[in-house]
Symmetry: C2
Subunit: 478 residues, 2 copies
């Protein structure tokens, strides 16, 4: 069941480095974020190209970042999470969408993939001129014994979200144990609390929100206490007690005792889904992600990769970093498509801006942590200040925390953490710009920011922090 005939005997357009067919057939594997972005872009950039998108699940083109709000009930229908149905992607973007098909193997020399149709369980080959891997990430799940357990969940795909939502609706669980306290775990803490559950969080570190500096982590812990969420830090999960008849998990086992649970959500972060690439001999990096160049080309001729399955370049260090985020997935998807379709486009890397809301707290970070800055050979110094987000005479003025990290030799800004109430988090974007521009702390302190009592204080907390850090840099004290 080969869908496409090999598109041979077609004239070639010579380019700087590669020979590109005027009408290549481009196959994209993976349908969540990077894949549909790449597919739609390739179809637009090269109207002569044939574009085929493979996805093993039944859903394509949806917004995983919004899934916690579907669990909480803020988003009522799962259809709202979907950007393009297979049908719309096909009609509106000129992409052949093949759902329920698992790509089992890549044959790079023959330029063919081996596909299993999961419905019929039949296998067929499909040839390509260019292949784009957008196989995404998968939830870290070291407890293989829990696969198939009805009340044990991870949250990566829309199918995962639907299963969890269904379980909550039909079984009305009282108590959730959440394993992990990173970004998605914290969003799910709030979502499950809003869905009516009691929450216990078990985390390996003493504080929640790894990747954030201590000030912010403490504020998030305080917020958990305020919301009656039981947080247990420095804890190791050793196993799970399960009902032998139903297979349901009844409690989480740790060296500090048992934690009873009606549902368990494992949220230990994500890792690149690279089984297919690995088997095909495509080079993987130190982070586990596929190595790509600035044009998203892998180590294999005519094979590109994008999205959560690749490692990115951290702009500040030039080093590889694994950062599965929708923005990067879509950006790199488009870059991969441009190049696969015969254009030339490059991706310069990420400064690493992430953030989330946790109840009324906004938390965001960008750039390097003190630790990663040290690792990269910088001599980081940092300052944390707590200042009001608006004129202190305004009722909405609330204190927010800003941490800035800089290199003590050059004064170059390396990273920031911002935690506070409404309006605090988005200030991270101006630090992202400052990092992209290689600004010094001194330059940031000179910035000409908005002052209007209800919107911002005379000196923005970011400016205050920059000036305090600048003084520290000048006096040379740590």
């Amino acid at each position: 069941m080969v869908i496409y005939e090999p598109t041979e005997n077609i004239s070639y357009l010579e380019r700087t480095d590669i020979m590109v067919k005027l009408a290549p057939k481009i196959i994209i594997i993976g349908g969540v974020s990077a894949g549909p972005a790449a597919a739609a872009r390739a179809a637009r950039m090269n109207p002569e190209a044939a574009i085929v998108l493979y996805e093993k699940d039944r859903y394509v083109s949806y917004r995983p970042c919004n899934m916690p709000y579907f669990i909480s009930g803020v988003i009522r229908n799962y259809e709202e999470l979907i950007v393009f149905t297979p049908d719309r992607l096909q009609r509106e973007k000129r992409v052949q969408v093949k759902i329920g098909r698992q790509v089992e193997n890549i044959r790079p020399v023959q330029r063919r993939i081996l596909v299993r149709d999961l419905a019929s369980n039949s296998i067929y080959e499909d040839p390509y001129d260019r292949l784009i891997l957008a196989t995404g990430s998968k939830a870290r799940q070291p407890f293989s014994q829990m696969t198939g357990c009805p009340n044990f969940f991870t949250l990566k795909t829309l199918s995962d979200a639907l299963r969890l939502k269904d379980y909550i609706r039909s079984h009305r669980p009282q108590k959730a144990v959440i394993l992990g306290a990173s970004l998605v775990a914290l969003e799910m803490v709030e979502a499950l609390l809003q869905a009516g559950l009691q929450i216990v969080v078990l985390h390996r570190s003493d504080l929640p929100a790894p990747n954030f500096e201590e000030t912010g982590r403490r504020l998030i812990l305080e917020k958990m206490k305020e919301k009656n969420i039981a947080y247990h830090g420095n804890i190791r999960v050793s196993g799970f007690s399960r009902d032998s008849a139903t297979g349901l998990v009844s409690s989480v086992e740790t060296e500090q005792g048992l934690f009873s649970a009606d549902v368990v959500l494992l949220a230990w972060g994500f890792e690149p889904n690279v089984d297919l690439a690995k088997t095909a001999g495509i080079r993987l990096g130190s982070t586990g992600g596929i190595i790509v160049d600035e044009q998203m080309r892998t180590s294999h001729d005519s094979i590109y990769a994008c999205g959560d399955c690749i490692e990115l370049k951290q702009q500040l260090t030039g080093r590889p970093v694994y950062l599965p985020l929708a923005t990067h997935a879509i950006k790199t998807g488009r870059i991969a498509a441009d190049n696969a379709a015969g254009m030339r486009a490059v991706y310069k890397g990420t400064v690493g801006t992430i953030g989330f809301q946790f109840f009324d707290l906004e938390a965001a970070r960008t750039g390097l942590s003190t630790e990663s800055a040290s690792d990269a050979g910088f001599r980081p110094v940092s300052q944390t200040i707590r200042e009001r987000s608006r004129s202190e005479l305004m009722p909405a003025a609330e204190k927010m925390s800003v941490t800035l990290i800089a290199d003590s030799r050059s004064g170059r800004l390396l990273g920031a953490n911002i935690i506070g109430k409404a309006g605090a988090g988005l200030r991270i974007d101006l630090i992202a710009i400052a990092l992209q521009q290689k600004m010094t702390v001194h330059d940031l302190g000179q910035a000409d920011f908005l002052y209007s009592p209800r919107l911002a204080p005379l000196w923005d907390p970011v400016i205050v922090c920059a000036n305090v850090l600048q003084k520290q840099l000048e006096t040379g004290s740590k």
Copy 2:
């Protein structure tokens, strides 16, 4: 009544360009924002210096930008507007504060000022080593006949605010006519509405909020309609009808008829208060403000100027601009003080970031308008987009407008307008950074911004606008 003996016979510290006394006497004229900032800074930077601050009014060191919120009732006591009382400035900052003293003349050759004690009406001379002019701005008031009219107001000083507040409290006026529709006028529209008055706005242009691009001006006009505020554009004030017995204004006369009023607020903006500088022969610029160099030195030896009485350098054009804002006042006050006290500090100019809140709308701008960009020799093109401020699936997602202006030849970003609901306005700060860094539209479009459904959409409206404008620049269409 010379307070300070001339500080002669004191050793000198040679510096690059000037001879600075180790213990100079520094006189500062003007006590609102720049003056106290300069005084406190000079006292701190040179502990040997004698610092004297003159102010003709009885209040020093307060926050004029917060006065509308005192009028509206959000701020209950005028004392909250005061940062330092004369007494506290004296005790805590080591500044001799002389209130109720009008400086009548400067004698640059003799390095003396002529002071009138308004209480005793006596005149005396006071010598200085360094003089800092911080005489601020005054409300534009071409209707000299209205001076002393009990229900005719401008809003510049704390005394103005107290007089207006007092009048509202004691006379319970029903109807306010506000002349003008710029930033302070609009803040006062909201404040007086909140204080219980009906509002009529008379403005010379067809739209409110001059200095903003048309999209934002229309949104502000819509908001006025929504709030039942009568706005009359394209209107000229020809005079005022007054009660011959009481002197009270009863209506505003225009060619479109009479507008009855219980109070009239004239809010036609501010102009530099430079009478003293002019008389002393200090050079004024094309904007009417005092010309200063990067160290805040005027054309006269040993005389510095700062705050609302000077003109600033617009960083994007290098041209003078008049922009009376508290942030610039305090920054330039500190720079003037540093240099007067024997240090060396420079001010590189402003990109011109301003903004305000109008009911639930946040409006902010930075950089050049299309018009001012053309005047400065750029070839401006602009784009305006309206996009949601958060993931469209989130209840708080509301559309906001972003206008970006760039030079069509270089792609350099020249200015921006942002109008929207909560969280929109502060995005102007990242454009301010982009302007400071001379970024191109392309670079801005590549920025690595926060995405988190409740905080920001996948593609921030600023990114969307940059990318639309970039496409326009590439295709060369207008």
